[in-house]
Amino acid sequence: MIRYVTRRLIQMVFLFLVFLTVTWFLLYILPGDSVALKYAGNPNIPPEAREVALERLGLDKPVLIQFRDYMFNFFQGDLGVSFNQYPRPVIDIIGERLPRTLVLFLTALVTYYWAGFVAGKYLAWRRGNRGEMAVTIGGVGLYSMFLPFFAFMLIWFFSVRLGWLPISKFLDPEQWRDAPFAANQVFMRLFWVTLITAIAMFAASFAGHRTHSRVLARILRWGGGVLVIAGFLFYWFGTESGQGMRVYAGDIAFHMILPVLTLTLIAFAQVMLLTRSSMLETLREDYILTARAKGLPEGIIRDRHAARTALLPVVTSLVLAVATVIDGGVVTEAVFSWPGMGEILISSVLSEDIPVAVGAFAFIGILALIGHFVVDVLYGFLDPRIRVTEHG
């Protein structure tokens, strides 16, 4: 397993280097020095100023040197300076935006994956071709739903019509006018607390899964869950720092509901359809018949035998889903004016702020690669045919 992970890790690093190289050349070289043209090719700029500008931007050096410098600087965390928010460093902008995007992606990814898997599992289990047509058409309809259209319909319905949820943005400026905290400060707190909660939750359920005693498993799973949630609530209501930030954190979370819902609904159908067909396939396997012959209860056959094995191809599809959900996230951020990586990518592209665009895109690429790597490891972990053979 360790060898498998290391090998994938090396592959990922290598892929990232290729990715960064291609991106850099694509943006800096292909379109005939657009950066130089825009900032130094302007005939109104006097020649001396032009020289200075070129030198400042490092554009007077040969291409390969520029590339070497960029790569070198990139790994030192220097991604250049934004043209539009000059002289704010790109890395600074990304540092502010990345956690927000991460939260949006992760929440949506976990929600839709879980929901899609459970829905697909039950649909397959109820079996029969009854309703197959309706499920497929509904699923495909959701899957190929035009995201901006769908998002605006949801905004219209929940925010304009019902008035339940905020229309867009990250927070409500009115409420934050006298806030004693910076938005990012609150957000980061929210981020860490939620992450720790999620990890604790997962650990409890995992430990429950591992034990052989059924009673202990139940205690761990339910008791652990309750305890973690209690801890979460205690932080926000019981501790001083939590209480102060609660309102503001709540506002941020409130603004997150609709984007997450949009992304989840769009992506959920695909997982559902896939799980359903994978599960139908699994249900035909001989070991399901064995499990039934062994007199196992239906619930165990469904969850432990059929769904567990049907999960494998679904996890493989996560590889593609990571890219899809990032794409969806980019568009969702744009629609909701959610100030994350996707939004900065689009706005920098529209305002031709190339250093920010490249930086944002590079980090979106990193996100995708990490996602891919996690999926690979997860798959290796779930499928003993990979896990065991590789370490043996």
């Binding site: 991106t23 657009s34 497929t136 590889v319 689009i346 895109f361």
Partner: protein
């Protein structure tokens, strides 16, 4: 449940030994294609989902050719109905009364509105009435789906948008399949370094979020529609499609007729193009469908974001509705958002449904027993 004998056939099920004689080779291949097409059509027809997709595609296909018919027959005057430059000169109007304070914004205007809206003469006094031209105008007998904020016919734009989507989707799909089959077959046939290099490239491409990449490329290129089609085709052709087609080609490669062709002295080129590619073709056609879905969606998203340089597109219609601020007024101005939004959804879903229907032909395991 019958015992099947081990596969002993060594001839290519599609090609035959006459393939040196180009003329008859094509004739035979054509006859075989026709026969397999008839058989596959029978399987496809049983699957209602695929047929539904086909019906939807046919509907939009008709929509795409209608404007030409309307313009040629003179049913539509290009000056009014052109999707880009058309303008309704005589839009429906609503009687507005000048008042001090507005109580009903649908029938009353005040001094401020006169200053903001150039269409209202500034000689208007309190109590005067004025016929305000409505643009966007709701559907009426002249404009079946109404007009947009610039006074252009929505139906005409929708039809032209369908044309653009078909052009883009099909071009992207063709590029994908040409690249995907070639790359997949080459990787499978040569193996070794060629295979490793091509597959690592494919790995990279499927990992990159496509829309984000297209946005970035849009930053430095001026994107025309066909550029987009080619870029999508390349991304998908070297990426996911190549991987799937390679595994299919690997399955074909181990069949005895490939060995037979090699023993008979067939060159690599000959084997790849005459034996491997025709046998992975059915699966490529399936992936064409999924590429079309992805292409239509990407195009719509990019033009919605205003990154694509195009003049008729469903995404652009949404973009206009958004920039003019009509997007959230779904009940009042539904004809600006619902038709293009649904069109993108329905047409891309239709291609996906056809793909799923074809899946049953390509994967016999999925067929209903």
């Amino acid at each position: 449940m019958t015992n099947t004998l081990p596969e002993t056939r060594i001839e290519d099920p599609l090609a035959s030994e006459v393939d040196r004689d180009v003329d008859s080779w094509w004739k035979i291949r054509l006859a075989l294609t026709r026969r397999s097409f008839r058989e596959n059509w029978k399987i496809f027809r049983r699957n209602k989902i695929g047929v539904l997709g086909l019906v939807i595609i046919a509907f939009w296909g008709i929509m795409a050719v209608m404007p030409t018919i309307f313009f040629v027959t003179g049913f539509w005057n290009p000056a009014v109905y052109d999707p880009v430059t058309g303008l309704e000169l005589d839009p429906p109007t609503r009687t507005m009364t000048m008042v001090e304070r507005i109580t009903d914004p649908n029938t009353e205007i005040d001094r401020r509105a006169v200053l903001l809206d150039g269409r209202i003469p500034d000689t208007l006094q309190i109590g005067d009435t004025f016929e305000l031209p409505l643009q966007p105008a709701p559907p009426d007998s002249r404009h079946w789906l109404g007009t947009d904020p610039l006074g252009r016919d929505i139906l005409s734009q929708l039809m032209h948008g369908a044309r653009a989507s078909f052009f883009l989707g099909i071009l992207a799909a063709v590029v994908t399949v040409v690249i995907g089959t070639t790359i997949g077959s080459m990787a499978a046939y040569f193996g070794g370094f060629v295979d490793a290099a091509l597959m690592r490239l494919a790995d990279l491409l499927i990992m990159i979020p496509g829309v984000a990449l297209l946005i970035v490329i849009g930053a430095v290129f001026t994107f025309q529609l066909w550029h987009l089609a080619v870029v999508i085709g390349i991304l998908s052709g070297f990426g996911g499609t190549a991987i799937v087609l390679k595994s299919q080609a690997l399955a074909v490669k181990v069949k005895p007729f490939i060995d037979a062709a090699r023993v008979a002295g067939g060159s690599a080129r000959h084997i790849i193009f005459y034996h491997l590619i025709p046998n992975v073709m059915p699966l490529s056609v399936l992936y064409m469908m999924f590429t079309v879905t992805a292409a239509i969606q990407s195009e719509a998203v990019l033009s919605f974001l205003g990154i694509l340089n195009t003049d008729t597109s469903w995404g652009l219609m949404m973009n206009l509705a958004r920039t003019q601020g009509y997007l959230l007024q779904v009940t009042d101005f539904w004809w600006l958002t619902i038709p293009p939004g649904l069109a993108v959804t329905v047409l891309s879903a239709a291609f996906f449904l056809v793909g799923r229907g074809m899946d049953e032909i390509v994967n016999p395991r999925l067929r209903r027993r």
